[in-house]
Assembly symmetry: C2
Homo-oligomer: 341 residues x 2
DNA sequence: CCCCTCACGGTAAGCGCTTTCAGTTCGCCG
DNA sequence: CGGCGAACTGAAAGCGCTTACCGTGAGGGG
């Protein structure tokens, strides 16, 4: 990028007849006094010349930037898009720019991106993708985040189990547990679970919540009642198929994410299996599109956008003390679930 | 951000026993020769010390940054999320970071953001939200973009009518025209159009395409056959309602965007109006979720992700000559449309 | 065998801004 | 009316990196 004769602060200073130092102070320190009218004069010059401070020079001089990095699995996924919306909306309020990177659930890539964002000296890094159960990877990640934080960066994770930075802790287990209670209340006794990759912590927690919920009612999942698929529409289709093709298919399908539920609904529709007539289906997350599914999707609403906002708010706080924001999901009963029979 | 004793290039140079300049060259200019083994030694030192170049210093020195700005209406909207996915995927390939800002269709905000991105000295600005028909605003925007480009920035607009920068020109009119042809082929003769804000150029073009398509078959839209609503689910509901509540409701509803079609479908479902039995509904854009609608949404597929990729690719090209990538939509017939009766 | 050429590597000058430090200028008290 | 501070302003030193611009040593041609 050929930086072509842009107005520099020096030009403003010259134009206003003050020194570079004074111009700088007038422009960026509102508490600075200054001779009567001087501030106005400098401001006027700046406006007249169309001065725009060079953020890189400023970042270099102050060792502070106005960028924050947001690491998600995939923008195209409504779950993350919605969350990102929240992050962006509070960031913009503070004139911060949000750089989004997508890992597509590849831990190596995630680490690589955190490194890159750290080298970029962004002011904060928000990890919104759930972490994985991989000791080595987590250790590396924590080390990276730790050194980033020590160098002044702010870290926020929307996942539990991180040893560094603030945390937005989604009660995945609790949400699922409540959902199961609701399903049991409807009269369900046979469940099938379309879960995601076992390595994902969030998946594990949600699964755990389901088990706990069932246990609360003296029930339990059989060995074949859980299938692990990709967290995607395709995964949902495959999962539904494998569960429903059994000799004794479940009457209630619990999925680990709304998008997976969409896939399940799609497959069921294809097969002319009635929802919720033949089988109930529930999702998790509460993406806006759930209401448009047919039938509308019962889910655990996490208030994704609010989560994004919280994360960004935490990112603005000093690293110490560490904050943990607990987020509970609330069961939203819609048309995709009903009592069996 | 307290920049705390991070390793600087100078440290690497010292450690490797070379000068700052040499270290810099070895690290960032692969074509530079260098005594045998010297490069390796510098690299090794860098690795050992955990050196990370400071991007702000680099940006300051080279007047180039590794950030690009993406201006969209709303990340939460699948249309833009999908497009963003494309932009991000090619950007990452070049180690570029994408900062996303949302205008929520507010032109003033759009201008404000472009200004901000320009001041941030991002390497490129991609305007993905359609532009508006507002002379003053467009003049201001073009001026801003022009000066940004003159100062070395790259500009790409995913909309026609911009006088500066590269363009990804979506053939909105043509796409709609083809869609109308398909509908006519199905036997439709009475249409209702749920359009967006008249000020949006894309809306206008799509509307134009509809008119042209009808004209091709000797038909035309009546005064009341078009309603203008927000480009949103709610807008779609309101639009469908106002069109279908007429004495002689249309048998085919054309909407200006998929999300609007979703709203329409939702309202129709609520009213127990059968789709496509009583009325056909079509969208525009081709967001992935269309396939999950019930019935699946007939639409004009724009290949949103590909558009994002193209935009980012153009952003990498020199400003001159100006490139224009033409994008045609293709009609995808799905369950939401059928012949009348 | 010497000089010229050239590839290397070092020195130093910025990139545009912030901020310390020191020099001024007033205002005000004694 | 002189002197002491407070309040400003300006000069200058970086922030970390790139990149002319040179001096230097080695290699090759005359």
């Amino acid at each position: 990028m050929v930086e072509q004769s842009l107005v520099r602060l020096q030009d403003v200073a010259d134009h206003a007849g003050v020194s570079l130092a004074t111009a700088s102070r007038m422009l960026s320190d509102p508490n600075y006094g200054g001779r009567a009218g001087l501030r106005e004069r400098v401001m006027a010059s700046a406006t007249e010349l169309g001065y725009r401070p060079n953020p890189y020079a400023r970042a270099l001089a102050t060792a502070t930037s106005m960028n924050v990095g947001l690491v998600i699995h995939d923008v195209r996924d409504a779950y993350f898009a919605t969350l990102s919306g929240g992050v962006i909306s509070v960031a913009e309020h503070d004139d911060l720019l949000v750089s989004i990177v997508c890992t597509y659930r590849n831990p190596g890539r995630e680490l690589e991106y955190v490194r890159r964002l750290a080298s970029q000296r962004v002011r904060a890094i928000i990890l919104a993708g759930s972490s994985v159960r991989d000791g080595a990877h987590n250790a590396a990640m924590d080390a990276e985040l730790g050194s980033y934080q020590r160098s002044g960066g702010s870290v926020v994770s929307v996942t539990r189990g991180r040893t560094v930075g603030h945390v937005v802790d989604i009660d995945n287990a609790g949400g699922m547990r409540k959902l199961v209670h609701s399903m049991v209340e409807l009269g369900h006794t046979s469940f099938g679970v379309v879960a995601g990759p076992q390595k994902l912590l969030a998946v594990r927690d949600r699964l755990q919540g389901i088990k706990q919920g069932l246990k609360d009612h003296g029930m339990a999942l059989g060995r074949d009642d859980v299938v692990h698929v990709d967290v995607s529409r395709e995964g949902g289709m495959a999962g539904a198929q494998s569960l429903m093709r059994r000799a004794d298919p479940p009457r209630c399908l619990l999925t680990v994410a709304d998008v997976v539920a969409f896939g399940a609904l799609s497959w069921l529709r294809e097969q002319d299996i009635a929802v919720p007539g033949d089988v109930s289906v529930a999702g998790f997350g509460g993406i806006p599109a759930g209401i448009d599914a047919v039938p509308p999707l019962t889910t655990v609403d996490l208030q994704l956008e609010r989560i994004g906002e919280s994360a960004m708010e935490l990112a603005l706080k000093p690293a110490s003390p560490r904050h943990v924001v607990e987020v509970e999901g609330s069961v939203v009963m819609r048309g995709s679930t009903a009592g069996p029979r």
